[in-house]
Amino acid sequence: MLRFVLSRLVQSLVALAILSVVVFVLARTTGDPLHLILPMSATEEDYAHARRYLGLDRPYVEQYLSFAGKAITGDFGTSIRARRPVSELIRERLPNSLRLATFAMGVTILVAFPLGVLAAVNKGTAIDRAAQVVAVLGQSLPTFWVAIVLVEFVAGRLQWLPAGGVDGFSSYVLPGLTLGWFVVAGLMRLLRSGMLEVLDSEYVKLARVKGVIEPRVVWVHALKNALIPVVTFAAIYFSILVTTAIVVETVFAWPGLGRLAYEGISSRDFPVIQAVVLTTAALVAVVNLSVDCLYALIDPRIRYVR
């Protein structure tokens, strides 16, 4: 087991190292951040000064080695746009993203579990069809559109909930619902198909024959076994929610990691781009590693693959 974990850890570190080179190079191919932070009236001398001061005049290899060496210690340099340590910006933004993703995942589980189970138990009925509609809408309606409708209608017109910003529990509701609905669809369908398979298995039939009451058969015996792929899916989706909520964070003025990434990219803020990409990649790697370990614990055969 230890060998398996170490092997996956090494793979993750190699992936991060390769990614650090890729993001370093790509970030520098599309523009110069000084063109955005210096005014139109800035002179060549101003550019030279700023480039020298920010260390952007050094050879790329030297810049990369300096960046990589510091990144290992958690120092991602200073933001070119905001002129603050990038690690500080990440520390400010990451918790907001984690909290929102947790809320969205909570909403997802609260909605997807009952819906998925009820749809499976009532296969082919109106309940099943209604659940399918929820799933199809969640996956087909663009997140941006859902977010705007909620902002315009629920926050702007009905004035039930805040439209944006992080300000207490109520501010989580609209962005959490928007983010969560998309995941509800996937989770619900996965749970429904898992439940259908399990409900048809021999041990469930045996439980019924032995006289176990139906709710216990469904919610305890069947659900427990249908959960394994669902948990994996939810874990991976959690990391995706943390790292890719740019649209939701933008619409709901949510100061999270996604918006930081967007701001970094649009202002060619190399240190921020590099830090956000590596942080999110590390997060995904940790989640994947955890899921791999979980699988390995559940199914010992996985440990001996390769």
Binding site: T30, I37, L38, A42, Y47, E92, V107, A155, F169, V173
Partner: protein, 523 residues
């Protein structure tokens, strides 16, 4: 289940409580689509966020909302130049204190200016000031003398609120004791509002000092700037009473006016100007030909663009690089003859005369910009007009930094780009013109004209304001007569306000919105 009960309870409570009540008038909340650099230190690209920095800091030279120098609005109550215009003496207001309680003296002014032209600085005019300033003397705590290498007229304006942030006075002792980085996180100034907190990507909060010489006892105890990138969200929080001011797009003005929200407009906040990318030798063909440049101008229906793309919140422009807030300073008048007619027939004839009866290929880079969400639609419209006169205009969608790189690397000669250049006074305009004049080693040039280069060089050495004005007028006249670029429209920027906000003049000073005037307790 507990969570779902909590959500349900919350929604019921929200329903019962109804719309959020209008905010107390002691708090001013401003929702903006962008904070740009989001910095708190004036020398770190602060020129673009003057609208909040100017609440925290005082300028050496004050400026009225309509851009005129003000002896009441700055630390200097008067200033004078020596006969040779190489020594500028500023007499400082007495009794001004920083938010730490320290008194502001000439040492602070000297320190601030030295810091503004230091290597750390990325302010707009650090370069020219580095070249110009020879020494800074502090003969008395209330007197500072700036000694220049060459005679100049422009020192007071460079250090005023009308331009960038070099004139902001910072606390020497605080910065020396705590360091630059600490100051950049927790700035201390002497302005009517002190810094409270910043959450990057979210908001900046300021609190009023009790009584300030600029605004007396302020109307608002706090001012909070909220970063809300999405317009629907800004409007929703305005409707909910959670914001008092929000920048809105031109197309939603009518709807908001219909709902009773007052709209405050910064007229001619920017000129939307298109230019031709030069190559290493200057003008690339076919832009070298004046007739081609004129044809491209005549093809564009500016009135239609102003109405259809900018919802009527724009006016046709006719002077290339014609930053109109400078016109008042130099006495330049735009005559009716200078306006470009929309004349496709004449445009086609000019192209034929220039040897392009079947047009020519033209790359038009299309991008959005801060304050210009209509960017791509605008580029499409202009490309459409040019196609109608036979020019094979090809739209290339990019983001601005990518275009800018091509432009300054001279990798797109003859192509067309554009920018919503923030309007500014004559010195700011002069700096832009100087920057855009051609030079083989210069990156940001857009105009290649020996005559204009000569006039720009004369202005640098000139100390007679009338002569400077005359030279500036001649530059604009030549820019227009030679059709150096395609000036399209002047953009007006609307701000929706809460119904209780009251009178507010956002002024006509670059990157400033004069919220201190709004907060002023002075009659």
């Amino acid at each position: 289940m507990k969570l779902s009960v909590k959500i349900a309870t919350l929604m019921v409570l929200a329903l019962l409580s109804g719309p959020a009540s209008a905010q107390s008038k002691t708090e001013l909340t401003v929702a903006l689509s962008s904070f740009s650099t989001e910095v708190l230190d004036p020398v770190l690209g602060g020129h673009i966020v003057k609208y909040y920095l100017s609440l925290m800091f005082d300028y050496l030279v004050g400026t009225t909302p309509d851009g005129q120098p003000s002896k009441e609005g700055g630390i200097a109550t008067r200033w004078e130049a020596s006969a040779d215009h190489k020594r500028w003496t500023f007499h400082l207001r007495k009794g001004v204190k920083f938010h730490t309680g320290e008194e502001l003296t000439s040492e602070d002014v000297k320190f601030s200016l030295q810091r503004a032209i230091s290597k750390r600085s990325t302010t707009g005019y650090a370069g020219p000031l580095r070249t110009l300033i020879a020494d800074i003397e502090t003969p008395a705590p209330d007197r500072v003398v700036i000694v220049t290498k060459d005679p100049t007229l422009i020192i007071p304006t460079y250090l005023s609120r009308s331009l960038s942030t070099e004139g902001m006075v910072l606390p020497k002792k605080y910065i020396e004791a705590n360091g630059d980085d600490a100051f950049a996180r927790k700035p201390v100034g002497s302005g009517p509002f002190r810094f409270v907190e910043q959450v990057t990507g979210s908001h900046i909060k300021l609190a009023a000092v009790d009584n300030h010489w600029r605004i007396g006892t302020p109307r608002f105890k706090t001012v909070t700037f909220k970063l809300v990138p999405e317009e629907a969200t800004r409007i929703a929080i305005l409707r909910r009473g959670e914001a008092d001011v929000a920048d809105v797009s031109r197309e939603r003005v009518k709807e908001l006016e219909g709902e009773g929200f007052p709209i405050h407009v910064r007229r001619e906040e920017a000129i939307l100007h298109m230019w031709f990318v030069l190559d290493q030798d200057g003008w690339p063909a076919p832009m070298k030909d004046r007739r081609v440049r004129e044809a491209l101008n005549l093809a564009v229906n500016r009135a239609e663009i102003a109405q259809a793309i900018f919802a009527g919140k724009a006016d046709p422009a006719s002077i290339p690089m014609g930053l109109s807030w400078s016109f008042r300073d130099i006495g330049f008048k735009v005559t009716p003859e200078m306006a470009y007619a929309h004349d496709p027939a004449r445009a086609r004839k000019l192209l034929a005369d220039a040897g392009h009866p079947n047009g020519f290929a033209l790359d038009v880079y299309a991008f959005q910009l801060p304050g210009l969400p209509e960017g791509k639609a605008f580029a499409e419209a202009v490309a459409g007009y040019w196609q109608k006169i036979g020019v094979k205009a090809k739209l290339i969608p990019v983001d601005y930094p990518a275009f800018r790189k091509l432009w300054v690397d001279r990798k797109a000669p003859g192509a067309v780009g554009y920018y919503n250049i923030a309007n500014r006074d004559w010195i700011g305009t002069y700096a832009i013109l100087e920057k855009q004049a051609y030079g083989p080693s210069k990156a940001n040039d857009t105009v290649n004209d020996v005559e204009i280069d000569g006039m720009i060089a004369q202005i640098t050495r000139q100390t007679d304001k009338d002569k400077i004005s005359s030279l500036m007028r001649n530059i604009f006249t030549r820019l227009r007569s030679e059709h150096y670029g395609v000036p399209v429209v002047y953009l007006h920027s609307p701000y929706a306000a809460s119904k209780t906000l009251g009178k507010w003049n956002p002024g006509s000073v670059m990157y400033d919105l004069f919220f201190d005037e709004l907060a002023s307790g002075k009659k």
